[in-house]
Symmetry: C2
Subunit: 318 residues, 2 copies
């Protein structure tokens, strides 16, 4: 376990020329509904529409010239692939992205638009396929979450939040494999140990809720969910110890709560997230993440890749 605050600070300096310091928005219109003082870290406004760009840049910017010349490859449910494709294009290196068939078409299109080579396969095969391509091309595999430099890049979100609103008392983070929350929680606890960090994952894929109880990374069955960016069936083994040590609680959130929260965030908060990224607010709605009316709670809105037709899902929601 060598991820430290210093590594996150180094990542911040490294990626600053290539990424946006996203706004931290005070969304008072949501306070009554969610029962706390609502803040949103708008990573949906990050370049490429998601936080994933941070980790991708932090990793790629540390490759040798020879590694860069052979290019990079990644398995990704979409946002990581888009972030890595953008980074590769910015640095002028080859990139191949392996995407599950289940990913929304808009995410695939966004990656193709950045000039990446794309290979599609089933969710379960994606890491094997990426490894094979890496062998064949001599390319460097850039993992979506299970890597300390990726986590260091994602952890820069925490440095920005604490600087933008020092009064934040709780940070709620959408969770899949654990790269984002691992980086954020490590940064937060090193800087301000009294600030709570909570994870929110789909009830359809509760890999951290189960694994933290078991005390080790444990594979779960992944059911279908609107949270299509949060599909890991097990915590990353690199991420897990950081998450276990530095978080204060976890919620496994239903699709119904995710959609209700998303609709409120959009029509009252005026912010467009992808469904996965409303999961923290959903966890509060279900009472699985405790909040108080005067508490300053920051919800990391991790991405905003959503297609117009997906919004039809909100029509049957209160």
């Amino acid at each position: 376990m060598s991820l430290t605050l210093e590594k996150i600070r180094a990542a911040q300096a490294r990626i600053a020329p290539y990424t946006v310091k996203t706004p931290l928005l005070r969304l008072a219109a949501l306070d009554d509904f969610f029962g706390c003082r609502v803040w949103a870290k708008a990573e949906c406004m990050q370049i490429t529409g998601a936080f994933k760009l941070r980790g991708a840049f932090n990793k790629v910017l540390q490759l040798s010239p020879e590694e860069l010349s052979r290019g990079v490859v990644a398995a990704s449910s979409g946002n990581h692939g888009r972030g890595l494709s953008y980074a590769a294009k910015a640095l002028g290196i080859p990139v191949t992205i392996v995407i599950p068939y289940t990913a929304p078409k808009i995410k695939v299109d966004n990656i193709l638009a950045l000039g990446a080579e794309v290979t599609q396969c089933s969710v379960s095969e994606r890491f094997e396929v990426a490894a094979r391509i890496a062998r064949e091309k001599g390319a460097v595999t850039v993992p979506p979450f299970n890597d300390e430099e990726i986590m260091a890049g994602q952890g820069t979100v925490a440095l920005e939040i604490l600087e933008q609103a020092p009064g934040i008392e709780k940070i709620v983070v959408p969770v899949s494999g654990g790269g984002l929350i691992g980086g954020i929680a490590t940064g937060v606890k090193a800087l301000r140990s009294e600030v709570e960090v909570w994870g929110a994952e789909p009830a359809a894929a509760p890999r951290y809720s189960v694994s933290l109880k078991e005390g080790k990374p444990t594979k779960v069955t992944v059911e279908k969910s609107v949270a299509d960016a949060l599909v890991a069936n097990t915590p990353g083994d690199v991420c897990f110890p950081y998450v276990a040590k530095n978080t204060d609680g976890f919620a496994a959130v239903t699709d119904e709560a995710i959609l209700r929260a998303h609709k409120k965030l959009l029509f009252e908060g005026k912010l467009l997230a992808e469904f996965s990224s409303a999961i923290g607010l959903g966890g509060v709605l279900e009472g699985k993440i405790p909040v108080r009316p005067d508490e300053n709670v920051c919800f990391v809105i991790s991405g905003g890749s959503i297609a117009p037709e997906q919004l039809d899902r909100l029509k049957d929601v209160d």
Copy 2:
């Protein structure tokens, strides 16, 4: 013409305890599409979802105790009524709102939810009906735009923009009667005369484009438009001279351009506006507002009151 920078500054101090300093967002994801460096002043994130609250508070906070006890009345296509209703509730005074039948149901519901009394009538009758109610109740009429104290309140938007991003070179403002642009343009030109101020109004109701050519407030025919918050058939006679003196250009924007701009603002910028509030971006799309790739252009996103079913309009848009 007694509206001055000092009156706008006084308004800013007066309304500060009751209103939000809304974020000024740098939306780099929109730059290529619109051909400039895009900034959005997110008045859709103002309390009650629109800038209208600023003018309403500035007016009501200057009433005498006796006037306050008799209450206030307004004719409004929605957002002004909602802002005034919120202000009245905050100050504990009676309020009656006259709303055209054409206003979206969501706007009416939002006003009723604030405890206001509501009367509905046709668009053309709304000022007469409000005047009658004012006479009957002895209430003070709070006009939606045609008043220097209302303009002073709306002008506080300009002070915030120039403080939040001193590099802004052009400000584009949605226009109906002229209260918002009148206040903004007066503030901008007093502080930084080199910053351009442009108005965007519906091609379906080009009251300023026509009136500026005529040299006086001129009534136009108002056709149906998606810009349902911009329905004035003539410039306010109080607003007109400030607008004529302090603006650099006007665009009359088609519904098609408004909807294309709105969709881009939502799905790439991640910000939910009401259709009316995307009109400035629409004017740029149509080439009616000139911009340069390196120019910092601030679009005032004046409001965000939109119902879920209205988003269906975006489905047939590129």
